[in-house]
Subunit: 360 residues, 2 copies
């Protein structure tokens, strides 16, 4: 299945380009109090290690805006200020050096306010994301159109017009519903109706597992149609799961990869090793490694040898115990349960270095 | 986005029909030793509670085949026997009363063996799934075609022919690769080339989070095109996660629902309550409840009131503490952290009963 990307304009967010022919980028967001610059910078670094290329922070008050100076200086990744209600905080965030603004048309609606923040953003050459959520659609649109795909697009269109009237067109759009299919429909419409880059995400997607499914279904359907230029997976869970899931979506579609790929069998009555336990250990190890290779964990001899042949590195259960394969060849000996973690960490770091993917 | 189901024949698996106009069904598989009938029945019941409508058990030896009698009698759900290497175990499984066979053409290839098991299945009127995995494609096909989509389809086609030559056409096909896009391509081809019901899944999909993403992307893309009649999500994790994720995929696409829907915000610097903790508690509570309604957990006032208006039941963080909404109306008082679990269990069981969804 060949994916042809939709053509659209591009914007520049610090060192990252969104849209045009740029690779699809992965975003995430902190949940620390932004005013606590130290905690926020630490979480940003952790998100970046997990694969985030752009990080958004909420700016609900003056103390948060003041902390942005240090956050921008020390994060080493483009920072987006998330602004609700108060356009003056958007102005302060731009002055603090953020690389993009995200505003919510549901709560910053006065044309004069929009003009002030647009002029400020234009003065520094930074883009604005018009971010519509189904939970905060402007009242006058909700009354006419409800909260479905048409309402999401109508809210974006009105705000793009407000911005365009001030001469500002350096915009990204996001249309997020908590219902995956509403999200898909809204973005299909946006893709037809405009040439702006699209930021994809399902809002209020739920805990990690539920949220991963809904995000994968909606973002997956859109990306498979070539729609979407940057993605954010929203989860009520460990923040680092967000970029991890985002990259899993991209790699599932063959659109990008940073971590090695882990395949592991679901286990059955034939299983001879603790596949879930070993796969869990491996998942933790591989999240900290960069590289384009495949590691397989298989419980038995049915699909084990086949997957071992295909995988760059494989852990297979056998009557003799746990055995390892590299490049389709069996490594000598068996691995005892007590040495699994240290042995796998050692072998995979070695393998990643050999493959040229820098171990981090 | 309207989904039009592909037309295909149907087969009957005990009380469940697969294909034709039947709703898409959810399958799962045990990982207990099948010979331990008690443990296997207990796990089957747990899978059924999580939403499995058909459960497969591996039958690697005589002791497992012998245990099938009791498993079939006591499980209360159609049982599928998973057979590799030995056609005689397929015969024994049919005699034990299983509702379907799954055979792997990679390791049962002799036409005489296929004839014996097909005649046995036909004598009891039970269907056979021809289940191809990328890790166990027959050698002669792998040598010519590799392990991609064409090889998966070629292996299925050859086996369908073997079965058809014995007069057996009551078949379901599955074509599973560990790569999601290969899985999609193989099933697109099968959907074009034949009119058999299709069982969808990504094989060796990894631990729960990785596996949920890959399964959601591949199964989601196919179901959105109307392809797929029954699904199984394979995870190296808690078995009950499999039907849970499968139902999340179906409900993401608007194709079915058994559990209430949980929406929760990803939290940010504005968050006033422990959203992830509360959402985690709620996820556990809602997995045990049947019903078609929506519960929202929102950390603050930005999207909170909007989601509370849309949701049937909502938990919102506010400056005063945690407040509850039902049908868009605020319930009196606030909830203290210590009483969250008991209060939510009470309110949601009450709400589920009121909605007519039987609390289980």
């Amino acid at each position: 299945m060949r994916i042809r990307r939709r053509r659209c304009r591009s914007v520049t967010v610090g060192s990252v380009r969104i849209g045009g022919r740029a690779p699809i980028s992965v975003q995430s967001m902190t949940n620390t109090p932004t005013a606590d610059a130290g905690a926020t910078i630490a979480q940003i670094r952790s998100l970046v290690e997990a694969g985030a290329q752009i990080v958004r922070v909420s700016v609900p008050d003056e103390a948060s805006a003041a902390a942005l100076h240090r956050i921008v200086a020390e994060s080493g990744v483009p920072i987006v200020a998330d602004i609700h209600f108060r356009h003056d905080l958007a102005v302060a965030a731009v002055e603090a050096g953020v690389a993009k603004l995200r505003i919510n048309p549901g709560n910053i609606q006065r044309p004069a306010d929009v003009r002030v923040l647009a002029e400020k953003a234009a003065s520094r050459g930074i883009p604005i994301r018009v971010g519509i959520n189904s939970g905060s659609i402007p009242g006058h649109i909700r009354e006419k159109l409800g909260t479905g795909a048409d309402a999401l697009w109508a809210a974006a269109e009105r705000h793009l017009l407000l911005l365009a009237e001030t001469g500002f067109t350096d915009t990204v759009i996001s249309l997020k519903a908590s219902d995956p299919m509403t999200t898909v429909e809204a973005n299909l419409r946006a893709a037809r109706e405009c040439d702006r880059p699209l930021h994809l995400g399902v809002t209020e997607a739920g805990p990690s597992l539920e949220g991963a499914v809904r995000s994968s279904v909606a973002i997956g359907l859109l990306l498979a149609r070539g729609i979407g230029d940057t993605i954010r997976v929203s989860l009520s869970g460990p923040p680092e799961d967000e970029p991890f899931v985002a990259w899993e979506i991209l790699s599932s579609l063959g659109l990008g990869r940073i971590h090695p790929r882990l395949v592991s069998c679901p286990t059955c009555a034939r299983t001879r090793i603790d596949v879930a336990g070993i796969a869990g250990e491996l998942s933790g190890i591989l999240r900290r490694i960069r590289g384009d290779f495949t590691v397989a964990v298989m419980g038995c001899e049915v699909n084990g040898p086949g997957e071992a042949r295909e995988a760059d590195f494989a852990v297979i259960g056998s009557p003799a115990g746990m055995i390892l394969f590299e490049g389709g060849r069996r490594l000598p000996g068996t691995v005892q349960p007590g040495e699994i973690r240290s042995r796998l960490e050692h072998e995979l770091s070695r393998f990643a270095e050999k493959q040229g993917g820098p171990a981090r």
